[in-house]
Amino acid sequence: MTALLNVEELCFEQRAKHNWFNQRSGFTLSPISFELNSGETLAIVGENGSGKSLLGKLLVGAEKPKSGKIFLNGQKLSSHNIKQRCLNIRMVFQHSNESLNPGITVSKILEEPLLLNTQLNTAQRLNKIVETLKMVGLLTEHMYFYRHMLSDGQRQRLALAKALILDPQVIVADEPFAALDPSVRSQTINLIMQLQKDLGLGFIFISHNLGIVRHISDRALILKQGQLVETGKTEVIFNWPKDKYTEKLVTSHQSLIAPK
C-alpha cells in the first residue's frame, strides 16, 4: 500500500540576495523525506528558525522547493498544478485572525475555494458551506457573520472549515493551537482528532508545544536549523531520544511538568 503522502528528498534553498554591500547566504532546508498515511498525524517540531513553517509551506505549495518530489497516493505533485494540490492538501494557519478575510462574510470566505476549484452551482455551494459549518461545530447562522463577530475558538473552527470544504486528504496546520486559550484549545484538539477519525485525514501539524505533540501525533519530525534531526514514532522519540537536540527539547519539557 502506498502512503497517502510521500515526500522524497525535499530540498529548499533561499536565494541568497546578492547585494553590493553585503552577502548573506540564504536559508537552506536539507533533504527531507517522510511518509504519511491516511488517518495518521505527523508533528513537525523545532525551534524558531528551524524551518518548520517553511516545510509546511513547501508541502502546500506556497514556496517552491529546489529539488525533491512529493507524491500523493503515489502520484507526483507538480509545482505548477496548484489546483491538484490545493484540492488535496490544505493549510490551516497559525493566526486564524489573519488568515480570514475581515472584509467579507463567513459564507463568502467559505465560498471562495469552491468558486475557484469546483464547478458547483450556487445551491450546491450553499449546501456544501452549511454542511461544512455543521461539521466543524458552527451554526448555519454563522454564514452571515463577519470575522470580528466570532470568538477565537469559532475562528479556528472556521479556518478548519475553510480547509475542509474541498474534502482534502491532507491538512497541514501551522501552530494551530498556539494562540488559543487552554479550554478552547482542548475543544479544537478534540474536534481535529474527531474529524481525522471520521474523514481519514492525513494531518501534519507544526508545533512547539510538546505536550500536545505527544498527545495527538503518531509520528514526529524534529528539525534544527533546516536539518532533519530525528524522525520516528512519537512515543519512541519522547522516551528514547537519540539526538542531543531532541533530548534537550524533551528534557526541558519534562522539567516543566515535573512537580516541584
Partner: protein
C-alpha cells in the same frame, strides 16, 4: 548600511531628475509654436539665425541629440530666454526662486515651531478640552482656501487697520542689491545707510504672507504630530516606561518626543509640494516677487520657455528637499536603519 541607503536614494534622485529633464524637454515640443523658439526663447528671428540655432541645439539631428544638447545647456546655465522680458531664464529664476524659498522657509520654520509643540500638547491631552479645541482650530485652519485667508488678512490688517503693507517684499523706496536673493540676508550684508529701516520694512512685508502660509501649514503639521503622539503615547513601551516609575515628563522627553517625531519627518517632507503650491498662490495675492507669481505671469503671457524652466527648477527643488528629508528621517531613525539591514 546607511551608505547603501544614501546611494540608493541618490540613484533614485538622479533617475527622477533625469525623468524630469526629459519631461521638461518634451514640453519644448508639447507647447504650441515652434520647438526651437520654445527652447531658446528667441522670437522673431531671421532665417539665418534660425539655421544657426538649429545646428547649435542639434535640431537637425535625432531627438536624442537634441536632448543631449539640452541637458548640456542646462548644466551650462543656458536655460533659454524669456519671451516676455527677453532676459536669460537662469537669471530670472535665480532672482525669483530665492524669494519663494525665503517665504516658504520662514513659513515652514514657524509652522514647525507652532505645529509640533501644539501637536504634542494636544496629543498628551487626548480626549480633553485642549485637544478638541486645538483639533477644531486645525480643521478650520486647514479647510481655509489660502487665497481667501490671505484676502481676509489683507482686508483686516491692511485696509481696516492699516497696520501692514499688502504687497511686495519691501517698500520699493529701498533698493536692496541682489546677492543671495534672500532679502533679510541681503539687507544684513549690504552697506546701505538705511539698513535698519529697510529691515523693518522687509519684516513688515513678510508678516502677512508668512502668516497665511503658516496658518495652513501649521495646521497640517499639527495634525500629523498629534496623531503620531497619540499613537506613541498609547504604545506599550510608553506604558512600560510609566510602570518603570518614570514621571510623565521624563517619559515624554525621553521616549515620547523622539518616537513621535521619527515617523512624521518623512511626512513633513511630503508637505513641501503642498507648501510650495500654497506659497505660489500666496505670492500672487501678495504680489510677492517669487517664482509662483512669476510663473502665473508667464502663463498669462504664454511665456513657454519660462514655464518650462520654472517647472524644472521648482520640481527639482522639491524633489531634492523631499529626498533630503527622507535621508534625514532615516538618519535619526535607528529602527528603519535596522530593517534596511535585515532586508538587504
Amino acid at each position: 548600511m546607511m551608505l547603501a541607503h544614501v546611494i540608493r536614494k541618490f540613484n533614485l534622485l538622479i533617475l527622477t531628475l533625469l525623468v524630469l529633464s526629459i519631461l521638461s524637454f518634451m514640453l519644448v515640443y508639447l507647447f504650441p509654436g515652434d520647438p526651437l523658439v520654445n527652447l531658446t526663447g528667441l522670437e522673431d528671428i531671421d532665417q539665418e539665425t534660425y539655421q544657426r540655432l538649429t545646428v547649435l541645439h542639434g535640431f537637425d539631428k535625432s531627438y536624442f541629440h537634441q536632448y543631449w544638447y539640452y541637458i548640456r545647456g542646462l548644466f551650462d546655465g543656458e536655460w533659454g530666454l524669456s519671451f516676455s522680458s527677453g532676459l536669460p531664464l537662469a537669471n530670472e529664476i535665480a532672482q525669483t526662486l530665492p524669494a519663494s524659498i525665503e517665504l516658504s522657509a520662514y513659513a515652514l520654520i514657524l509652522s514647525l515651531l507652532i505645529g509640533v509643540p501644539l501637536g504634542f500638547v494636544a496629543g498628551f491631552q487626548h480626549h480633553k478640552t485642549t485637544d478638541y479645541g486645538l483639533l477644531t482650530a486645525s480643521v478650520v485652519a486647514y479647510s481655509m482656501p489660502i487665497f481667501w485667508l490671505s484676502l481676509i488678512l489683507i482686508l483686516v490688517f491692511s485696509l481696516q487697520l492699516g497696520w501692514l503693507p499688502l504687497s511686495g517684499r519691501i517698500s520699493l523706496l529701498f533698493d536692496i542689491p541682489h546677492h543671495t536673493g534672500f532679502i533679510l540676508i541681503d539687507i544684513f550684508f549690504s552697506d546701505l545707510s538705511y539698513k535698519g529701516a529697510a529691515a523693518k520694512s522687509a519684516f513688515y512685508h513678510l508678516i502677512m504672507p508668512t502668516a497665511s502660509l503658516t496658518i495652513v501649514t501649521a495646521a497640517i503639521i499639527f495634525r500629523l504630530t498629534r496623531r503620531s503622539v497619540i499613537e506613541v503615547m498609547s504604545s506599550t513601551y510608553v506604558q512600560a516606561a510609566y510602570t518603570r516609575g518614570l514621571s510623565g515628563f521624563q517619559v515624554v522627553m525621553r521616549h515620547g518626543v523622539r518616537n513621535a517625531l521619527v515617523p512624521i519627518i518623512p511626512l513633513f517632507g511630503m508637505q513641501f509640494a503642498v507648501l510650495l503650491t500654497n506659497a505660489m498662490i500666496v505670492e500672487v495675492v501678495f504680489s510677492w516677487p517669487g517664482i509662483g507669481s512669476w510663473l502665473i505671469q508667464a502663463i498669462n503671457q504664454r511665456d513657454y520657455p519660462a514655464i518650462r524652466a520654472g517647472m524644472l527648477a521648482v520640481s527639482t527643488l522639491v524633489i531634492m528637499l523631499t529626498v533630503a528629508t527622507d535621508l534625514l528621517a532615516k538618519l535619526i531613525n535607528p529602527a528603519q536603519m535596522g530593517t534596511a539591514h535585515a532586508e538587504s
